[in-house]
Subunit: 216 residues, 2 copies
Amino acid sequence: MKHPKISESTIRRLSRYYRYLEQIEEKEVRVISSSQLAAKCLVNSNQLRKDLNFFGEFGTRGLGYHVKDLLTDIRRVLGLDREWRMAVIGIGDLGFSLLAYNDFLKQNYKIVAAFDVDPLRVIGRVSEKLGKPVEVLHNNRIQEVARERKIEIGLITTPPSEAQNAADILVEAKVKGILNFTPTQITVPEGYVLRNIFFTTVLDNLAYLLSNSLNK
Amino acid sequence: MKHPKISESTIRRLSRYYRYLEQIEEKEVRVISSSQLAAKCLVNSNQLRKDLNFFGEFGTRGLGYHVKDLLTDIRRVLGLDREWRMAVIGIGDLGFSLLAYNDFLKQNYKIVAAFDVDPLRVIGRVSEKLGKPVEVLHNNRIQEVARERKIEIGLITTPPSEAQNAADILVEAKVKGILNFTPTQITVPEGYVLRNIFFTTVLDNLAYLLSNSLNK
């Protein structure tokens, strides 16, 4: 990698720019000014220029950034210029909504397997709702299937009490990236990358900001 | 508020401590050392001590923090010592999984209303799955119901193309806090608090870290 030392907050901002640029590219917007892009992504425009200068995108004075070029550059920096193969563990409502989540499909994230402790229970419902037969496999096949299908990211959407167990199975199957959607704090060994989406942590943040703005 | 200047990253860490402490309090753990708590929350233990000292929790040398006291303190700082009343807008699979999401129930976040553009279509399915009759109201009742039920936070789980529209309706209804689960960048006027849970942004972060660790 050319840019190994980009901070997490920079990565988050780059990702936002990228996702917004994708949306406007679809609408055939070809050029955007830094101030427009910054406003849409809720970022300070000096910050945005700093972020983009950092990897050599300077824009054109009075004109702005070429959407397509910027997309190509950010894609390369973030490692999105290739496909990431994912599995979902735990096919409850959240797991199902990830299977159905169209947004992934146009990205380079592809769900290639779904697992559950009780596949027979969920398989009919899932197939019916997605309007096509869907394969849901038993958790005890994760190791074999992860190898065969080259799965690199596991999405954990089990009940909270099963989250650590699901992570352990993924680790055993050498799935290096784990995204935990349950409220349980889990751990993974060194060499694995864990990220969490804690709904309540985001709500706590919102509640704090609301408390403060309400008391102003 | 006594602590108006806590940074967002501190808030996020406090929230993590809080959620973990809640889990162990249920198991009747009464005391925890700073290093244990830090390890469980994936935080550096100096950072943790700094965070907790900041609002007057010093722990007891050689013993650690009293779980119950720490919970009370963080609860007050984060504004969790009261109930937050929420509405879900858009009852697809994700909206439904939030309705069913037990984790909210033991917290101070309470979903008190559910809205959809086509309530008749979703109401039967939702009631059946939750095992009790559930009320889903038409979006055009948000303003009236938000006032009646004192709703302060709106969770947007509509299709992406409807997200800004849902936000506008919430703003019109004076719902001050908005949590957007769709991949669409939306905007709200000053005085409103918007947070996003962008699944793909988190995946982008994971992909970046995996790219780097795989190339090492």
